[in-house]
């Protein structure tokens, strides 16, 4: 059973809501993924629009937990302010904290990330930090009060899949009791299965599903891959070995002689 800041989460697939071909396809993808947590963002609103917010109406129909993000923020102050606005709006202490350090790679600014995390936790937030696979950054985040970590496995939206499984293994081994969610860079269901086999707790996806030719089918594929990877991890994986080992017992085998 996955718990994130005390909440029981029924699916290990967390789903982003951006970039789908249409709201109708987004709605179907969320439903078919059986995801229990969706991520959302904030933007400026137009003055004098009487129609309210269509996306907000759609979001409420999903009946999932909502994890607001601070996408696009590149300073501590911006990220903290965005988090406060998100809490006021979505009525949740959860915040997916992104502080971008480089516009080309979209890598997090880990120094600002730790500072912002500290401030937000003091304000009562439950922080899901978008971080690297660096262990000392991870330790700092835990020190300041994070109870979940969200390392990237490759650049956001790159679909490259886990580039350094050694680092991911080390992270899992170093923080056995902290829920670890791979947040970015997953491209294929097999990537997701591989990460889950390493013992990660969940995967947050967006581009890989939204930009697939058939996002609904891809959402299902990821849901199954994530379940399979998790089961595989729990079942205890066999380590690779260098010699062949016959799977059929040789005892009692008949002996035939050549004429």
């Amino acid at each position: 059973m996955l718990r994130l800041y005390g909440q029981v989460i029924s699916s290990r697939l967390l789903l982003g809501t951006a970039q789908y071909p249409s709201p109708a396809i987004l709605e179907e993808a969320v439903r078919c993924s059986a995801s229990n947590v969706i991520t959302v963002s904030l933007r400026r609103e137009t003055a004098g629009c009487a129609e309210g917010n269509r996306f907000y109406e759609l979001m409420k129909r999903f009946r999932t937990y909502v994890l607001p993000n601070t996408a696009g923020c590149s300073s501590v102050k911006e990220a903290v302010l965005t988090a406060e606005l998100a809490r006021d709006l979505f009525k949740t202490n959860w915040i997916k904290l992104e502080v971008i350090g480089n516009q080309d790679t979209l890598q997090p600014d880990v120094f600002a990330l730790v500072d912002a995390t500290k401030i937000l936790i003091e304000k009562g937030f439950e922080v899901f930090p978008y971080t690297t696979d660096d262990l000392s950054v991870a330790s700092k985040l835990i020190e300041v009060g994070c109870k979940v970590l969200m390392p990237l496995c490759a650049p956001i939206g790159s679909a490259q899949g886990p580039r350094d499984t050694g680092c991911l293994r080390a992270m899992r081994a170093s923080f056995p009791d902290i829920p670890l969610i791979v947040d970015a860079g997953v491209g294929r269901p097999s990537h997701a299965a591989m990460i889950m086999e390493l013992g990660f707790d969940a995967i947050l996806l967006n581009t890989a599903v939204a930009k697939a030719e058939d996002p609904v089918k891809m959402a299902k594929a990821f849901a199954q891959a994530i379940d399979a990877g998790r089961l595989g991890f729990q079942a205890g994986l066999l380590e690779p070995r260098d010699i062949a080992v016959s799977s059929t017992p040789v005892i009692g085998q008949a002996v035939f002689y050549e004429a």
């Binding site: 959302v40 933007r43 400026r44 609103e45 137009t46 003055a47």
Partner: protein, 65 residues
């Protein structure tokens, strides 16, 4: 009084944030606000005084990853 709402200059009569939001047609629970880069919680909208040239941000939910 002239203020900036989401980067645009507007003329408003209101002197409190809640009245200003009403005046501009923001009704409902689908937005959050900041004044001069400081967050203003929903239950403080009524008591938040607006000054000339204040920069007000009104944000609403958007798709995100």
């Amino acid at each position: 009084m002239r203020v900036h709402v989401n980067g645009e200059e507007v003329d408003v009569r209101a002197s409190f944030l809640s009245d200003l939001l009403n005046e501009l047609g923001f009704q409902g629970d689908w937005f959050a606000t900041a004044v001069n880069n400081e967050f203003v919680a929903r239950d403080e909208h009524a008591s938040k005084r607006i000054e000339e040239n204040d920069r007000i941000e009104v944000l609403s939910p958007m798709q995100g990853g």
